[in-house]
Symmetry: C2
Subunit: 273 residues, 2 copies
DNA sequence: CGTGGCCTTGAAGAATCTCAAATAATGTGG
DNA sequence: CCACATTATTTGAGATTCTTCAAGGCCACG
């Protein structure tokens, strides 16, 4: 089993059908309830270029049509802005259309812990159901664009369709599994393994979206990577340098080129014992 | 905000209604599909002493009656035995009735990472939905007794009831939030903070079940605590000793008495910065 | 009463963090 | 277009925390 698959998306069987606990969603016309920033755009899940890796993935034509009847608002978020904040009332689930987000948890003393990075087709906000309030905040790392999916509508839809219910449940479960991987990583890996796992996971997600899996641009800072991986930014930086010296990567600031994927994979399987 | 609340259960509003992503479930009569160990016992959710902290929590009388019509199998597990294993086909969600479990993830190289401890009224197995296979294993830490809840039945029930759907979704979301807390802990706390958080969380869960919050018996070994908290067993042991010297605890092997809860709470809020 | 498992403790070593400084990249206002 | 402020990144060196290795004690069990 490939540990990299456990780091976030977790893709196991047919691939396509499980990109991540995140997905795109139908989008056409804004709707009451969408807070500021809603743009009256008309798009539908069935036409969305992300349909295969997003929410509708796994649904049959009938359910897809029903999804299309929903009026999802679109929302544009500028780099650095919050999509939602921890503690805020939970109303929507958000599907990333373009851009990248980080989600993070706040401690009373102000410490921040990044709990995930989200790219096109991935969902955010699932943690809000528990208490009716978002547990985490979502912040755009670059200018971004999301579908705001009213949770109540989704529930209504699910009431009639077992498939739809299944999809929802699976999405949440996938989020749980994704977090499992992160726990694993935080609980029992060293710096090199963590960073290797992170990069391999990113690589796979880029690939799933049609981008080069071996060369990409990081949207997050060293500090954010560090927070996510449970290490200090200096350690992240040093580990990047180490990988470069081992000729596994070529690093130029945020531009990454994976030179030796096999080696990188070994880097996080190579446990002392 | 109390970080302890973020360590596992995460209880925010009225308390009762959110004990943990785990719950008891109706139990009467065994049913086809329950593997070995099923015992034909007849109990119903509505009569279960765990009903307020388990699955039925939050359901109205009608839904409760519908739950009662389901035939849940009971299963006894001896200390050290597996309830289910990672990779196994997902069929049931399990509610702890008596005893304590640990759930853990396996890495290819054999390393184990404990991802949670589960006590009466808490649910296990929610991570199986994602791929139709359990991602983690559940092992009894002492002789235990569970309700095996066939997932498909639950889905059927949910198809008719928005409330039931809500309950399910909330359970899963709670699991996500619970894991958030662990991530936070693993990602940004030192040994003392981790152990303090762990003990405070345990204390709260004991209290919610009617046991003394200040004096209890640990069901897990130092190694298991260590795995869960991302530290070595020796470090766990040393940290226990340190707390004892600081007169926060009295520790006798697995018997714990919290002498100074306030101090313990400070112990994991007291960050260097 | 011997054996194995679990826990505690010490001492040395390794990994990571902290502090500090230099460099590079970016944006601002003149 | 340039000087300057700001932020992100890299790198070094010492401090700290946690781990590793090792030894001994306690307890339950056969």
């Amino acid at each position: 089993m490939n540990i990299a698959n456990r780091i976030a998306p977790v893709r196991v069987v047919p691939a396509r059908a499980q990109t991540q606990g995140a997905d795109c969603a139908p989008c056409h016309g804004s709707q009451a309830g969408i807070a500021s920033g809603a743009t009256p755009l008309k798009t539908q899940c069935s036409n969305c270029h992300l349909r295969d890796i997003c929410l509708p993935c796994g649904l049959d034509t009938l359910d897809l049509e029903r999804l299309d009847t929903m009026m999802f608002g679109r929302r544009k978020i500028k780099a650095g802005e919050e999509l939602f904040r921890g503690g805020e009332r939970f109303q929507f689930i958000y599907a990333v259309r373009t851009g990248t987000f980080k989600s993070s948890l706040m401690l009373a003393d102000g410490r921040e812990q990044v709990s995930g990075f989200h790219m096109a087709g991935e969902l955010m906000g699932l943690d809000g159901l528990a208490n009716g309030r978002h547990a985490s905040s979502a912040i755009a790392l670059e200018d971004a664009d999301v579908c705001a999916i009213p949770y109540v509508h989704l529930t209504e839809l699910a009431t009639g369709s077992a498939d739809m219910q299944m999809v929802m449940a699976r999405l949440m479960s996938r989020e749980i599994v994704r977090e499992h991987s992160l726990m694993m990583l935080l609980g029992s890996m060293n710096a090199e393994e963590r960073l290797a796992a992170f990069l391999i996971n990113l690589s796979q997600r880029m690939k799933a979206r049609g981008y080069s899996p071996s060369e990409f641009h990081l949207r997050m800072s060293r500090a954010e990577i560090g927070s996510y991986l449970g290490m200090k930014l200096e350690t992240v930086s040093r580990t990047f340098s180490a990988f470069q010296q081992q000729r596994l990567l070529e690093v130029d600031k945020r531009h990454i080129r994976i030179v030796d994927l096999e080696g990188l994979t070994r880097a996080f399987e190579a446990r002392a014992h």
